[in-house]
């Protein structure tokens, strides 16, 4: 165990939490407001990544600038999917809802495969991708720092929307009691549509960031969706407020194990599964 690497592990862990939180908060929004577990969330993420790639290839757009285009497009995709499919299963058994979103995910994956093929696609010319600021022995990557800052701003913005705006209050109201919110005049379906669109938008922005960091493939969303589920479980299903702290716990735990344990990087997935298991056991123990 090389403790000289500890400061780098801490910095890398905290910065990784930004992207984790961004993906997880969209998932939490769908679960918390609409009450639907969206297995296609990772595919929104993947679509965002491929749109950023395509904008770069076709028009030379810097991937971070492409957020301005990708975000509204993903909102529209999310809203359209809600209006055309999700809203019809809101009262169906949970298994039907899960199967539907799982199916949407498969359709989106295969559409991506048809359009972009299975090869990983790289946005070649991103001059800042490999830049890092050296602070003592610690390197702070510009891309992780930027994605952390964007994620924090977006998650904070979402908190403000939920807490301070009429739309946010409407979302909280329908989350608490769908029937009651309808009885007092809220258009529940419209609120759900906006919430699902926002959920897709947040995943899409996460996807743009991943297009900078990695080489997108049709299955690129899977790893981050798994992390997002772990974070949502850790925060409490549908609890948007707990997402950032839960993301930091997951990302830091992974980074510390990966750095300080021999062959620790291959234990990253074990770490988050252990965190899910521990959380569920703790919660059930606390209730009894």
């Amino acid at each position: 165990m090389d403790l000289t690497l500890l400061p780098q592990a801490l910095v890398s862990g905290v910065l990784a939490a930004g992207l984790y939180a961004l993906v997880a908060v969209g998932l939490a929004l769908a679960i918390g407001v609409i009450g639907i577990v969206n297995f296609a969330h990772g595919e929104f993420f993947m679509v965002g990544a491929f749109l950023a790639y395509q904008l770069f290839v076709s028009f030379g757009f810097d991937p971070l600038l492409s957020i301005l285009f990708v975000a509204p497009v993903l909102f529209l995709i999310g809203a359209a999917l809600y209006a055309s499919t999700i809203r019809f299963v809101l009262k169906a058994p949970e298994l039907n809802q899960m199967l539907l979103t799982f199916g949407i995910g498969i359709v989106l994956q295969n559409l991506a495969l048809m359009i972009w093929g299975g090869d990983p696609r790289s946005i070649g010319g991103v001059p800042y991708r490999a830049m890092g600021l050296q602070v003592g022995d610690v390197s702070v990557g510009l891309v992780p720092l930027g994605s952390f800052a964007i994620s924090v701003l977006l998650v904070a913005g979402l908190y403000v929307v939920l807490a301070r705006t009429p739309l946010g209050r409407a979302m909280r109201a329908v989350a608490q009691n769908r029937v009651g919110a309808g009885l007092v005049g809220l258009e529940v379906n419209r609120v759900y549509l906006v919430a699902f669109g926002l959920s897709a938008l947040l995943a899409g922005i996460g996807g743009v960031m991943i297009a900078v960091i990695q080489s997108p493939t049709p299955t690129v969303g899977l790893a981050y969706t798994l992390k997002a589920f772990a974070i949502v479980v850790l925060a409490g299903l549908g609890n948007v407020r707990g997402i950032v702290s839960a993301a930091i716990v997951v990302a830091l735990a992974e980074s510390l194990v990966a750095t300080l344990v021999p062959n620790g990087d291959s234990l990253r997935n074990a770490v988050f599964f252990a965190l899910i298991l521990g959380t569920l056991v703790y919660r059930s123990w606390r209730r009894t």
Partner: protein, 395 residues
């Protein structure tokens, strides 16, 4: 008149044979879809050429392509479907050691002729692991096209010996591809007197990793090797290379050993000077490579930048030539022709020869080229007789 007679005779002969169908198992979707799609494009080109040249036994050759998703259970079901529903006698394609190991019992049950590209895990030199070469290399019906893991490593040793490094850090993906490959590399490199200062596993982005390799790369920085050698998949290449620079970790040489490289990565600034092992490049200086690249571009509108396309092309032509030479689909006759024949490929002529434990090994360590990303291009820098540019010093 003679031509018409010949065509009529050929048609009559052809009527005596059923159309030859070859079952293809490739990961067309899922995490390894890039490789599977590259294989498919190679098969499509070979199929068009074979059928334009008269087909197989006077009939157009037919491929029945099944998607394995690089998933063992899916691959076994797909293979058994090819055997029981489609009744094919020849299997082509192949990718992933994990998938191949899962298929071995089914291969043994049905025993068609299996010509297999993927599955490099031989098991040779690893007492804890029964590899593919050890398990089915002796079977008459098994033909392995891609080099074995120790042949990949042999090529690397030849290059490292010429390069003269004194210490290496190894990062490897933690699956059936990277783990035995890294063990073989470590043993061989140490036998050459080169220090292995780190041998560390990581979870590939292909296997559910998020592409954050900073922890493993920090350990490389602390070990301060002359060379970083990583064994992973194509989608690991960019995050590994960019995070290495971001962290300020600067070994004199960086060598990647994925099966392929992402589309578009050549122009990424962080790839400059990164080296890799590859079986085929369009700028390989031989006429077969140029002809293949031109035909591939005409059919698919892009460069054949994944060597799996070249291997698939070579594999299908070997089947067509062997069955035509046998004049029958009888298994023993086709095996005899596959054993005796010399076949065409973008890498030049090749044939099946015995390897350490296998009866029929296609390409060996001499297939491999070392290339280096230089100014947005992949230049061949080793071996010297096929080099297109000198190796650039980068630190």
């Amino acid at each position: 008149m003679k031509r018409a007679l010949a065509i009529a005779l050929l048609s009559l002969v052809g009527l005596g044979f059923a159309q030859v169908r070859i079952g293809v198992l490739s990961p067309l979707t899922g995490a390894a879809a890039g490789t599977g799609q590259a294989q498919l494009r190679g098969f499509q080109l070979a199929l068009e050429e074979i059928n334009a040249a008269g087909g197989v036994l006077g009939q157009p050759l037919e491929l029945i392509v099944e998607d394995t998703r690089a998933d063992p259970a899916t691959a076994v079901a797909a293979f058994e479907k090819l055997m029981t529903e489609d009744g094919v006698e020849f299997i082509a394609g192949g990718y992933s050691s994990g998938v191949t190991l899962a298929l071995i019992e089914s291969f043994r049950t049905f025993q068609p002729i299996v010509s297999w590209i993927g599955g490099a895990s031989s098991g040779i030199g690893n007492d804890d692991f029964d590899g593919i070469e050890e398990l089915i290399g002796q079977e008459d019906w098994f033909f392995h096209v891609h080099p074995w893991d120790y042949q990949n490593v042999e090529a690397t040793f030849g290059f490292l010996g010429d390069l003269g490094v004194s210490s290496v850090a190894v990062l490897h993906e933690d699956g059936a591809f990277g783990t035995p490959g890294a063990a073989g590399l470590e043993a061989g490199v140490e036998a050459m007197g080169i220090d292995v200062v780190l041998n560390e596993a990581f979870t590939s982005t292909l296997a559910g990793g998020t592409g954050d390799f900073r922890a493993a790369l920090s350990k490389v920085g602390a070990a301060n090797p002359d060379m970083l050698y990583w064994i992973g998949y194509d989608s690991d290449a960019q995050p590994l290379s960019s995070q290495l620079k971001e962290l300020g970790v600067a070994p004199a040489y960086v060598f990647g050993a994925p099966p392929g490289w992402p589309t578009g990565i050549d122009t990424a600034p962080e790839m400059e000077c990164v080296m890799g092992l590859i079986g085929y490049l369009p700028n390989l200086p031989n006429p077969e490579a140029v002809a293949f690249a031109n035909a591939y571009r005409a059919m698919h509108g892009a460069d054949p930048d994944n060597y799996m396309a070249a291997l698939a092309y070579a594999q299908l032509w070997s089947y067509a030539d062997a069955i035509n030479a046998a004049g029958t689909t009888d298994q023993a006759a086709v095996i005899a022709q596959l054993e005796a024949g010399t076949f065409r490929s973008p890498m030049g002529e090749w044939r099946f020869k015995p390897s350490v434990q296998a009866k029929h090994q296609g390409f060996g360590s001499d297939m491999w080229l070392v290339f280096q990303f230089q100014d947005g291009r992949r230049e061949i820098v080793w071996p010297a007789d096929r080099a297109t540019a000198p190796l650039a010093a980068c630190r």
